[in-house]
Amino acid sequence: MTGAMAWGDLVHPFHFQFFRNGLLVATIAGALCGLIGVYVVLRGMSYIGHGLSHAIFGGFAASGLVGVNFFLGAGVWGLASALMVSAVTRRKSIGSDAAIGVITTASFALGLALIQLYGSPGRNPDAALFGNVLGVASQDVWIVVGVSVFAVAVIVLRYRALLFTTFDPEVAEVSGINTARVDALLMLVLAASILATMSVMGVTLIAAAIVVPAVVARMLTDSFARMLWLSTAIGAVCGFVGMNLSYHLDIASGPTIVLTGSALFAAVFAATGLRGMSRLRGTRRGLEPLHLS
């Protein structure tokens, strides 16, 4: 009974508590990255996930050195980097890509220098770089759940302001929305999300986990609200499927989750053809600054 054997193989890991923990975290982390990714992609800041995860690696090294809690130290470090990127970008003379490149790589370089000088802190740097969901502790589950609840709460309660600020920041500002505060709030959610999901995705691949679901969702819809939940669902599916693949293929969870998303992207790209591609032209904040004449 080959079918029964295959089914048995598939459900076998579910008997292990560590796998169930890992699967739960990977699915929630995927959904969280998908949700945040919509704003990241539409603001033309796709590189920020990559940059911030590297910046947080600097915080990872520094927190070990100073002796503060990893999540607190790396979280504050990541948020500070995100706010700096946001502040530099708002001045408009420097684009977001350049701001991310300068600030986050400087932070990553500082982390590497600290590790070389003082040695690695308690956590395994390889796990931080590539993700190791099988070593997920119950504390990590609660952190991912807590950050997800926080992210959903922010996005639900500030949905309209976030949408207006993402679509048309100039007019949002003159319409009475404090866009600097909205941007800072989004950076806080983003930094917290990256920090919470880093153990699953790894520093090097988290950017793809943020960007890919949003890009796939954009190819499937022209509505912002639908893109938001589609991207979340796609992220969750990628986390769930990628985690199972990670177990069966004995590969780190980061690569399998990202490769699942990439395969989905290729399938949707082929299925939607030119229509999907024309929608993708909108996955950046294509606004020129309002020219004051």
């Binding site: 949905y159 309209r160 949408l163 048309d168 929305i177 912002f224 609200a225 929608r279 996955t283 004051l292």
Partner: protein, 260 residues
């Protein structure tokens, strides 16, 4: 400021990076006014509009607004990201971004959106993507967003920039109808003959206000030359001023087909 003004800008000077872009500008807007701001590129038209809006604070001078005046703003359509995943209904509802925290729209909000779209002649397009509309419909979507909060003053930046003649007529008629209903309107425009000559009040701007008043008073060869720095003639056609470039040997560039 008299009590009847919605907004009054007095002696306003705006400086960007030490460069004065607006100098000693005056502009008063009252209920029912329809004002056009004309001038060359870089003359401070958008800056003056944003001073009226309150988005730019002048370095000198004063801006006084009537208490609780509601102002709607329509940006240049060239600044809109038309590929952003957003439907007409979602776009118009952005006007309520500051009021309600829940993401979903209420039945009364949906009804208000339907009403404003109907008023602007684009009823039933709520679920269409903003790019899947004609140029005139796209402009109306952003007018609808500005009108949703029932403003007393509508500010529009280059409402007819990049649109065809038919759309320009439609937008001018639409703004005229809104103005007839009591809405004060201020527009910036490059289009002297298609838009400015039809408006009841013009402000000719070149960093400073060169002249303001009815078109028949301010669209003169002297004012236009001081505003644009180029010689122009003003003719009359059907009782309206028509501005033409002055044709002279010195300012006509003749392009000839190159001899084979």
């Amino acid at each position: 400021m008299t009590d009847r003004h919605l907004v009054e800008v007095s002696d306003a000077t705006v400086v960007y990076d030490r460069d004065p872009v607006l100098v000693h500008a005056d502009l008063a807007v009252s209920p029912g006014d329809f004002v056009g701001i004309v001038g060359p590129s870089g003359s401070g038209k958008t800056t003056l509009l944003r001073v009226v809006l309150g988005a730019v604070r002048p370095a000198a001078g004063t801006v006084t607004r009537a208490r609780r005046v509601r102002v709607g703003y329509v940006p240049q359509v060239e600044t809109v990201n038309w590929s952003f995943p957003i439907t007409v209904g979602e776009c118009v509802l952005m006007a309520r971004a500051g009021g309600r925290w829940a993401p979903w729209s209420t039945p009364s909000e949906r009804s208000e959106v339907a009403d404003v779209l109907d008023r602007l002649g684009i009823a039933g397009l709520e679920h269409r993507h903003i790019r899947a509309l004609s140029g005139g419909q796209q402009q109306r979507v952003f007018i609808a967003r500005a009108l949703l909060n029932r403003p007393q003053l509508l500010l529009m930046d280059e409402p007819t920039s990049g649109v065809d003649v038919r759309t320009r007529h439609d937008i001018l008629h639409l703004l005229s109808d809104l103005n007839a209903d009591g809405l004060a309107v201020v527009v910036t425009t490059h289009d002297l003959n298609g838009i400015a000559a039809h408006l009841p009040h013009l402000v000719c701007l070149n960093r400073e206000v060169i002249a303001q008043g009815p078109p028949e008073e301010v669209l003169t060869a002297d004012v236009l030359e001081r505003t644009y720095g180029a010689p122009m003639d003003v003719l009359e056609h059907g009782g309206m001023p028509v501005v033409v470039d002055r044709m002279s040997a010195s300012n006509v560039i003749r392009l000839r087909r190159r001899a084979q």
